[in-house]
């Protein structure tokens, strides 16, 4: 039965609990399993932290999780990871939490050009989906999809890459977060505008300035397969994970 038919008949799609209590509440139980989600925001808003926490909780619940680091070596990423109280090094030793550096994957595939052809895009999709299939990955993060798209250049190629990858991952029941970098002034959710249209869901992280205070915010603007809150929340990155509270609306211009 297709997801649409299942929903029409009132059958809930299986959920992939993010393990972030506030976010799971916003999503009425978690991300519908197999969805490809764009996690978007400017620098310092908590995209990588949220994505890593999603994977760590998955690994703790016994799911195999993969982090593909595009912009920085995963060793550096791990060194700067918030010292989560729930993080356990054995997750990596046991193969539940796997880190791969995208440049190494490019190297292995012989992709050295600054712009990929359609054939090379298919190679890349096949390589990632092959790893997901072989390792039986249930949660995937690509940080960042913006950096991958930089080498695809055209809207057609970006569309081809995300559609093909999203389809392959969904077929394996793999829930994916694609990290997207935007500038603070951006009026859209992704650098190229294509990623947001194709993704099953969009979680936007931001910085809200209010009377000189800077608050970290999160908002789920789209999530196929579930009803969800579209309100803005304030978040905190803590050693026990991301915490969320509602943004107080009395402060939004209601009074001077």
């Amino acid at each position: 039965m297709t997801d649409v038919l299942a929903e029409k008949r009132g059958i809930q799609r299986e959920r992939c609990k993010t393990g972030i209590e506030g976010l799971d509440n916003i999503l009425n139980g978690g991300i519908p399993r197999g969805n490809t989600i764009l996690v978007t925001g400017s620098c310092g808003t908590g995209k990588t932290t949220l994505s890593l926490e999603f994977l760590v909780h998955g690994a703790l619940s016994g799911e195999k999780c993969l982090f593909i680091s595009v912009t920085e070596p995963s060793s550096k990423l791990l060194a700067n990871l918030i010292p989560y109280e729930f993080f356990d090094d054995r997750l990596i030793e046991q193969g539940l939490l796997v880190f791969i550096d995208m440049p190494a994957l490019y190297e292995r595939l012989g992709l050295r050009k600054t712009e990929f052809t359609f054939e090379e895009i298919h190679m890349l999709v096949n390589a990632i989906s092959g790893i997901v299939r072989e390792l039986q990955i249930k949660r995937l993060v690509i940080d960042s999809i913006t950096s991958v798209c930089f080498q695809l250049k055209t809207e057609e190629k970006i569309r081809e890459f995300i559609l093909k990858l999203g389809k392959a991952l969904s077929d394996f029941g793999c829930t994916s977060l694609l990290v997207s970098e935007i500038s603070p002034a951006e009026q859209r959710y992704s650098m190229y505008g294509v990623e947001e249209a194709i993704a099953d869901g969009i979680i936007i992280l931001g910085n809200l300035e209010r009377k000189g205070d800077l608050l970290r915010t999160m908002q789920v603007v789209k999530m196929r397969g579930t009803s969800h809150s579209r309100a803005k929340y304030v978040l905190d990155l803590t050693p026990i994970g991301i915490l969320l509270v509602p943004l107080l609306k009395g402060g939004m211009g209601a009074e001077k």
Partner: protein, 190 residues
């Protein structure tokens, strides 16, 4: 009202209650100490509470010094300090203290309280908000009412005993209305 009378009134309330503890302005220091003695020396140990003390008035290190001066046990008190930063007074950070940049960052106060509630999940908890008057200096009435409503109801749902301190004569009608809306009872110390 002396400290024992304050403690007795509090002891008559179940866990999860929310109390507005109004301190009279005349002889304020005596009233304040009587209120704190009643809460921290007499009521809190009997219920075996761990205290989350949210200060928006006096920097936490000064609160701690004051409590120690009156021989209150501070080993079970965790401070959420929303005032030291704006006084440029956080160069030496205290243990069991979480600092917030400004008392205008009400969501961050909620987040730090949430963090401590999770960290102290196995403890019986008491939260003291000191004070509603200073929060009203830094925040408009609408956002403050929204904050109080979310805070108190969240604490109540988790069985946390909540005490909101204020100076009786300095409470505006709006603040009094907010407190009567969210609190189960009012105790006046004067």
């Amino acid at each position: 009202m002396n400290s024992t009378e304050v403690a007795e009134r509090l002891k008559s309330m179940p866990d999860g209650s929310s109390i507005a503890l109004k301190i009279g302005e005349t002889n304020f220091a005596d009233n304040y100490v009587a209120a704190l003695n009643g809460v921290l020396k007499e009521f809190m140990p009997e219920r075996r509470y761990t205290c989350i003390y949210v200060t928006t008035t006096t920097p936490s290190h000064l609160c701690k010094n004051l409590f120690e001066m009156f021989e209150m046990d501070v080993s079970n008190i965790y401070f959420v300090d929303a005032i030291s930063h704006i006084m440029m007074n956080v160069s030496t950070q205290m243990e069991r203290t979480t600092y917030i940049e400004s008392p205008t960052m009400l969501e961050n106060i909620l987040l730090k309280i949430e963090f401590l509630l999770k960290k102290l999940a196995n403890e019986n908890k008491l939260l003291i908000l000191d004070s509603i008057n200073t929060l009203a200096i830094h925040n408009g009435n609408r956002i403050l009412a929204e904050f109080l409503h979310i805070l108190v109801n969240n604490l109540k749902s988790k069985g946390v005993f909540t005490i909101i301190l204020g100076v009786e004569e300095r409470n505006s009608d709006e603040i009094s209305n907010m407190l009567s809306l969210v609190c189960d009872d009012t105790i006046v110390v004067k």
